[in-house]
Symmetry: C2
Subunit: 205 residues, 2 copies
DNA sequence: GTCTATAGCCAGATAGAC
DNA sequence: GTCTATCTGGCTATAGAC
């Protein structure tokens, strides 16, 4: 009927779906649960999004487009490598502390359906590694940083940033700490990760 | 009837279940699919394991007990820190290249049910970080390695070893390589990861 | 646009023959 | 121990009233 109202219901559904899908995944989530979370009827979900699959895809794409552009900070900025690593890890870890389910959601659903990445890569502003590769190669040639493939460095950066969230239950077990202490460790990583990476690659003058 | 035959069917089921559960997860797996994979009837699964949940738990525990003891190499061996890091990363990455679904399976199911780690921790030979903490603290005090909390170092080691497998679809997308090239990158990591970590922590003499 | 009621399907589990 | 057939429940999706 009324445009504002439609938009509100539609985005209410999307937000509710986001919360449920991120916690339970595509397979584990229930349409009824999403409807309850949104405080509306289950039929409404189908009215606005036709099917569970389409609702899921809307949520997934939105989540991915929230996370991916941040990689431009490390891949396509003109700052020095060390500065990029410092600002990226700090920003990324801060962001994920606020949205702890996000990385696991993305990773899990990409593992369930790996071809999905191809759709995403066609998106505007999908970050690529090309510029970063050139920058690393130059700095290695200049003797500023140790010899390392940009691909490996990128994998390491991603691993150190993301894994502590995805592997939290496992790591809490081995380290044998409670949630509060683990959260404190994550806080420290805002600076710890950058130091670790920079020590690993920089050559003492 | 016959003992040998029982054991065979029972372990056939367990192996089939392992393959299906590791690819699809608890929620995504179908009992029919597991039965097909084992080449037997669906009713047999219930005859031997009573329910999907119990079958899953048998598979999960077995998988976990395959992976966890390897951590003793880094946490409880008497070698120097550098030697431990070298041998552990090499062994671990080699192992996971042969069983690529394993880490994601463990991590994913622990995220679905985080309290599950408590059961596992009561198992004999569950590795803990205590000895490793002492060793790191001593080496830091001696000025052999840079100041770092053992917990953070441990998280970093785990992240660098495991994430490349769990995040493979995502990383392949950003790095923009095919499966074969990515596999090559993983091979390189058998030595690359240790160098990276050791450079990050060691103090130049 | 929003609801209730229900169709239709699929999966886990069991009964019961052999 | 192994099978076929079936029960039962839960879930996505839709029909249709308001």
């Amino acid at each position: 009927m009324n445009k504002a109202k439609n938009t509100t219901t539609e985005s209410e559904i999307l937000n509710a779906a986001k919360r449920i899908f991120q916690r339970k995944g595509m397979v584990g989530a229930r349409m009824q649960e999403i409807a309850d979370e949104a405080g509306i009827n289950k039929a409404m979900l189908h009215y606005y999004y036709r099917s569970k699959q389409l609702l899921f895809e809307a949520v997934f794409k939105k989540a991915f487009l929230l996370l991916a552009p941040q990689l431009n900070d490390i891949l396509n900025s003109d700052d020095s490598i060390c500065d990029k690593i410092k600002s990226f890890t700090h920003n990324y870890i801060s962001f994920v502390i606020k949205h702890p389910y996000l990385p696991n959601f993305i990773i899990q659903e990409l593992n369930r359906n790996p071809e999905f990445i191809k759709d995403l890569m066609s998106e505007r502003h999908f970050p690529t590694i090309e510029k970063f590769k050139k920058q690393v190669a130059i700095k290695v040639a200049e003797g500023i940083i140790r010899p390392i493939k940009a691909e490996q460095l990128f994998i390491n950066i991603m691993a150190l940033n993301i894994f502590p969230f995805i592997g939290a239950p496992l790591l809490k077990g081995f380290i044998n700490v409670n949630d509060k202490t683990y959260k404190q460790l994550l806080e420290e990583r805002k600076t710890e990760v950058a130091s670790f990476i920079i020590n690993a690659i920089k050559i003492e003058q």
